[in-house]
Symmetry: D2
Subunit: 364 residues, 4 copies
């Protein structure tokens, strides 16, 4: 249960890390959007591991197939199914995890809930299932682009190292130039070093990913329980390893006075703007036409080779565990594309719900 999200543009995710396939069914994309497997593949490639020292060396081909929803090169209003078959999911012996929950891993909760738990590579709790998010996000982003909405995500913090780039176009360009996917090339270098040092220690490190969407019109979001910020918070918090979500100024509002952070209005060329954007483009749950800014706190990869205490659930006795294997020493770089996809899914849904994108036919 709980594998579908979205009201008008909805995504149903399926699959697990060591099953036959992972993927998503996207329902509610209007007809007449040009869409090819390449549109999706190029986003999946950004998520793909094994491309640098800061990600797991595990090779995954992750070639997407579109099984339905396209007719003569365009969406036709029927559900789009994107699928990636699992290839590299063999051999390794995971049996040591069978009744042994890994610290800060989801497996204990999953075992408690379902009784029958696929402990191989994390099963459906694996980060690999975000392939479904990226497939759906690629479609959402292409749909949003028809209305001139663009989204960029970057790593803005790893450990104590912070990025200092805010210009949308610079960030967009820079994130493709470094393995950390940070918009500030100098910070990126320091971040990479920190990650590699943690890897060396058999440890991992957390960080913060920021996503900015520009071109979003005022009026998205449904008060009171389907607000735009609430829907973003949900989908972002749902991403594996995320422990915090901020919109605009986020937790810094706690130490601020209204006179310092209120966004004042002004008029330019007969349009309304705010001179600051500490609201992150959303006030009262509804977009105000300014860039939508969100940030997520991503915890360090819980799988580490350092020795940790755990228990054997069958024998009900204490044991120690050192998790070997090819794990990302920092989740943030690859999380950028998942965050971006998630934001895109929510925006696509609300653009349709709010009457900005026609629900069944883009040409109307």
């Amino acid at each position: 249960m709980g594998n579908t999200i979205g009201k008008m543009f909805s995504v149903t995710s399926f699959g697990s890390s060591h099953g036959k396939a992972v993927g998503a069914v996207i329902d509610g994309c209007p007809a007449n959007l040009e869409l090819s497997p390449e549109d999706i593949q190029k986003e999946l490639d950004k998520r793909k591991p094994g491309t640098s020292g800061v990600t797991t060396p595990r090779k995954e081909e992750d070639k997407v197939q579109i099984l339905s929803g396209i007719f003569e090169g365009k969406t036709d209003g029927t559900p789009i199914t994107g699928i990636v078959y699992n290839n590299n999911q063999h051999s390794k012996d995971y049996s040591m995890f069978k009744n042994t929950p890994r610290p800060s891993h989801g497996d204990y909760g999953w075992m408690s809930k379902y009784g029958n738990y696929d402990y191989n590579g994390g099963g459906r709790g694996s980060g690999r299932i975000t392939i479904g998010h990226v497939i759906a996000g690629a479609i959402a982003k292409k749909l949003l682009k028809t209305k001139n909405i663009e989204i960029v995500s970057q790593v803005v913090q790893i450990g104590d190292i912070m990025a200092h780039s805010n210009d949308f176009d610079t960030v967009k360009e820079n994130v493709e130039k470094n393995s950390v996917r940070c918009g500030d090339l100098e910070a990126a270098k320091a971040m990479e070093e920190l990650i590699l040092a943690k890897k060396q220690e058999g440890d991992s490190i957390g960080g913060i990913v920021e996503t900015v969407a520009v071109g979003v019109p005022a009026g998205l979001g449904e008060p009171v329980f389907e607000r735009l910020d609430g829907d973003l918070a949900r989908i972002l918090m749902n991403i594996n390893a995320v422990k915090g979500v901020e919109i605009g100024f986020g937790f810094d509002v706690a130490t601020s006075s209204a006179s310092e952070i209120n966004d004042e209005y002004y008029i330019e060329d007969n349009e309304i703007y705010t001179s600051t954007n500490s609201s992150g483009g959303i006030i009262g749950g509804i977009s105000n036409g300014m860039p939508i800014i969100s940030r997520i706190a991503v915890k360090p990869t819980p799988s580490i080779s350092k020795c940790q205490k755990t228990v054997n659930l069958e024998k009900m006795e204490a044991k120690e565990i050192s998790i070997q294997g090819r794990h990302d020493p920092c989740i943030c770089p690859r999380a950028t594309i998942v965050a971006q996809s998630s934001v895109a899914i929510v925006l696509a849904d609300h653009m349709i719900r709010s009457g900005y994108i026609h629900p069944s036919n883009l040409e109307i």
Copy 2:
């Protein structure tokens, strides 16, 4: 649209600050829960303004009536309607706000979206609509109590002043003893002073509210898109003025290594626990039996008497505004009860969805 939340235990909120009434319809509360108006009234009284210097001096009676769903003192499985008639919503002239969006207020987005916007006291964007949350939360809390789940919320930070109390029972006792609703009585005093100083300046101040739920069993939450943390993040971010949500260690994970914050397992009396709880009781979207810890960042009340720049939307010209009136100089104290109610609503929903509370009859 968007005024209903919850799958099995659902809440539909209605009303606005200057209409005839505000309230909520709660659908999905199983039959045979003893429930009286007093159960709800005592929670509403905690939200009520005018009880101290740190809240607005506006008097609101806020007497709840239950219009449906109770038979012979117990819920009967049909929708429970709780309603509070608006009484003190008269006289004041709000016409100056008619086409004038207040900085960092929701009214600009609402006007853009609906065209017909009730500018009196914020209309449905007013904090007053959280009366519906509190009505629903009171029922949810009573339902959760039948399974020994208890929830406490406190203000843990105002400006730079932080509280240092974590013990559940101490906090529970202390929050009722001070106007700030902080669990640390010493910090509470400093917070109160800071708030009053801001009020004096015609300004306001932000803060952080923490909510802890104890007694929650392992296994709540549905991966991937209806995770417990995602559902909490949504309902909490949906609260007026909230700009950030954290679970457990929250944004502090960004500067942490896994070896520092992973929650290791141990066994005591044949039960599984973790020795730390930086996960805040939720890993992989599913509860693990430890206390559920969430925090929200609450921005300073945007309505301040200090002069601010805005525009007249009809004439499309710049103007200045000084918002007089009786506003809370800090939202946090009253937000504690809204946060708590919100967490209770999500937990009640998931307790039913996960098979821990029978969906239609508590006596089964």
Copy 3:
């Protein structure tokens, strides 16, 4: 649970026959629809009993109040709450029904499900709760009228007596002229006599209600699981006492060949029509621009004074029951307005979902 219906135009119903009030919260009606209590009251008056010999002589005032959602005479996009306080629900002693399920009444299922069942006048199983449907339907009809969609319902059969009027305008006029709400005045007279004869015998009689909606554009309905015909079938079957639903030719298709009933296309004034309408305006789940025709089979009122066998659930022993009181000898006349309201709710929802009515502001 289950008291909300609709995706973009949604209705949450509450209340019971002997509680304090019955009503509905309508969420998703766009702003700027002119709406007054009179718009709703005139529809409720059609449902009101006690107006002729063919309905129960019970007097019910049923005066509606609108508690929220209207600003300066127009909807403002926030939830509309319509409420009717119960007045005439006193005195009568229902205790004989306490553990005694009435044959073909819902009470046995309700008791089994909830344990705590309000046996007074049927509780929430009472036909009285359709007041919520009518409130919501009145709003939906007013909304549809802005797009020139009109709906008429009539009784087309009582026992063996059938009506023979199909012309939309004639039916619309005639239904207001007779107590049976039949569009064929001659048949109406015979129907009235049959109902009164059944009443005399302490018995009741069933019938069929037909609803026709004209002006509905082609393209409403979402295949595969949210088809227009499926959504109509659900809301119509959900009405108390309904045991069958037909679209267009309905069950007569069973004895037909395709060559007899297929609807052939033709062009007139550059528009597409079908020369027959055995499809009832819906093919493949999607409207085709022809009138939407639905019919419901309404069972005879199960409450009759004739002696019937039942059981005492507490003592677990057989007993006999004769249900005295003021019951409608035929449900059909008053069901017309409920059927019409139900169809209107579904059409309003799909008009918004399909992009024909703007989701938040009628003036866009």
Copy 4:
């Protein structure tokens, strides 16, 4: 949009007749149900065409693969994806249908709605998409069987020929013995002859399919808008070619008095039963423990070789059409398995929602 159904046991359907694949994602099946591809395959084989003269001679292999949701032979609580690749969907030239809506076919509505319509073999409007229903239904039926619920569907009428078998076990046995899937072997023979005669004429014929579910406990169904009968009516009306749905006595209630059809209660072996079942096991929207009986009216296959009038939508001119090809002369025999699957899906959902089946783990 609209390709997902169900609240706790939900089905997302995808695919079209001439795309790469058709299938379904089933979300909410609890863990620990033994499930193999064979369980699904044997149901799909009942739907498969080409097995007798009364169905289309088109050969379809329809081999199902399970891509996710099974671990060590049992469901693991994660979404189950069942897929059938399209093989035989080639060659034929459908271009004559490009802008030419076939009478009583869904294509006109689909074209109007989506603009981009796959006219090959009906696209997603094809009966072939019910493969997804059957995959989901097979899982639902296996789940229901763990609670001793069994479902049987049979053809009870073709044209004027009616079946006269009601005994559950006899029907169950007989439907497998004849190509019409009728429970009355004598009627089956006459039905088969009638269908073949229609086929000979280049025409087709309608009929009625009845589905009976036994072993369903009292208490399923949520008043007011998620009643069991309403949910059944929706899913059944959503099936291609269905124009009517009945529960129990259905349209016969129109000509009945309450004294004739009310279901009286009696006690046997300390259990409550009704002496008749004209309610079809559902009263007031809630099951009463008696068999659940539904019937659907299935229209004749609209694709016939007899000449029909239609239009060319591009040139906006009249034309005639004779639809050649291998079409079922009667949809009913193959519809039995789709009806049965649909009923099973709704019952599985409500069994979980009502607390009779644990939502995440069958072993609890």
